[in-house]
Symmetry: C2
Subunit: 318 residues, 2 copies
């Protein structure tokens, strides 16, 4: 099976490659062509997933396909963008047809869920690496950046924290993965749901937003730095799932919530007046602290005492 045949069989003929709104020319030429409605901007983000670093060498390719697209699309959610499509740069050690079929099916599943068109890409031989570039559209002036948080705003997250990091020992087979709690955690790792509806609802309401990919503390640090403010987190308010509590000792669960990087929940700052309506619409959302004048990220215990922060988020080349 040559490169062109591989692209045709597994990708160009997939339902998600047959075009969609905003796609003037899809897969198969030197470039894809996108169109934007008047008054909208194009949001673009690129992510790389390397086997053995971002996902285990032993994996279900269907789940990998789902997860790869979800992780990248989460960046569109963080900007408040509506997804259009994506390109895939797939580097493979060999053309294993069983792997390709399941991977393409997983990709298709998430693409259909997020209404995204596969626009093109590149297939090359080498160590297993996935490069995803995602495209969305957002009304001009309404994109959510990291730079607008103001003292007095509430600091919020889109749902439970630490599940992805808590799932890692199960994903790697280091702990037994039986029972409902394990099932929940594994689903949170392999099928993170990009918070697209929440991101779009935050347009014109949130003052800053991002998706938590490096860990809550590190990512809050990005908002603090870009906005020139301090973010104050109350430990007691961190939303931890029942499953995480069940599977991990309290201190380990807390470490996952603060420094784990695989949740792809949104973190955002919000004027207090916006809270009630949003909370009704998104009951999983939680207020975890507040924005203050100053700099950096601060963590407080139940008595209001500041805690020392040792564990920062994940960095490559750290």
């Amino acid at each position: 099976m040559g490169e062109f045949e591989l692209i045709r069989r597994f990708f160009a003929t997939a339902p998600c490659a047959q075009g969609g709104e905003g796609v003037a020319l899809g897969i198969g030429d030197d470039c894809a062509l996108l169109e934007l409605p008047p008054g909208e901007q194009l949001a673009v983000s690129t992510d790389t997933l390397v086997a053995g670093s971002h996902f285990p060498l032993q994996h279900d390719p269907f789940l990998l396909g789902q997860r790869a697209l979800a992780v990248s699309t989460s960046d569109l959610a963080a900007m408040g963008a509506t997804p259009i499509g994506f390109t895939l740069a797939l580097t493979l050690p060999d053309a294993d047809e069983t792997w390709l079929r399941r991977f393409a099916d997983g990709l298709q599943r998430m693409a259909a869920q997020c209404r995204m068109t596969l626009l093109g890409g590149d297939t090359t031989r080498g160590p297993l690496t996935l490069g995803m570039t995602v495209f969305g559209r957002v009304p001009k002036g309404l994109a959510l950046t990291r730079a607008g948080a103001r003292p007095g705003d509430l600091l919020c997250v889109g749902g439970s924290l630490g599940d992805g990091a808590g799932a890692l020992p199960l994903v790697l087979g280091e702990r037994p993965a039986d029972g409902e709690a394990a099932e929940y955690l594994l689903a949170r790792y392999w099928q993170p749901q990009p918070q697209l509806a929440l991101g779009q609802a935050l347009r014109g309401r949130a003052t800053a937003a991002l998706d938590i990919s490096d860990g809550l503390l590190a990512d809050c640090g990005h908002i603090a730095q870009a906005s020139g403010v301090a973010l104050c987190i109350e430990r007691a308010r961190l939303p931890l799932s029942a499953a995480l509590h069940e599977r991990l000792p309290a201190d380990e669960a807390l470490r996952c919530a603060l420094s784990g990087g695989d949740d792809y929940r949104l973190a955002f700052t919000l004027p207090a007046s916006e809270r009630a309506a949003l909370q009704t619409e998104f009951p999983e959302m939680a207020v975890i602290g507040r924005v203050e004048a100053g700099e950096g990220v601060h963590l407080y215990d139940e008595q209001g005492r500041e805690l020392a922060l040792a564990a920062r988020g994940y960095q490559h080349f750290g």
Copy 2:
């Protein structure tokens, strides 16, 4: 040096990352934001370059940075697009500062030449792999696709063929790289010039176009298939550089021109009435054959006899 520091030092602070026309928000947030003038479409293409496959493990990182962006930008030229910017997905075995400085400088050189903004990307640890996604704009309805060639059109290329493939033994150190001819060939391999001006001049004139990345025969096959026509190439008309003639026996030079994939020249089909004006503007352009009714790619010798085609273009997983 952590990941964020690496991005800041070598990429986010580079002149090419400081924004440009069409860039509403550049590097540093979850997404970059692009704007399009009314009536224009966005052209997008993704390429992956794997060390040891697309470029030698032993290389000058400055030249690699130049070449990686040039190769990807060539896809914009093939659509007749005006470049806007690019994202970079950089996978590195380690954070070697000397390598990074030279690579970033090479990238900067080509970005400045093509007027492109570095919009964002991702830096991860792993086997050396470069993922480039390039963005350009093109007036609606004027993008050059592969699908419009008509019987009677001329088949043209943007300049000499086979130089990149002819340079490969020099690039790999298999043959001595001394003398002017070697210098010319090495420059053609490491600093291919995306034919942006030619591509833009072909808008509304050429009926089909692409850039030659898989080899002339394979890429003409793509036009023939997409357009539903036959492409007929006259061997005597293939433009071979003096350097290629000097360094290689005639049959080997011809093989490079027909099947080599590293030239990044445009191939296009053109109504005969457009030829004269275009030839004046782009003297390097050459007519190498014609479009006929039928299918496939055909090669003819000096006596008009059809030659058997054994050597096809390069494919991964071939």
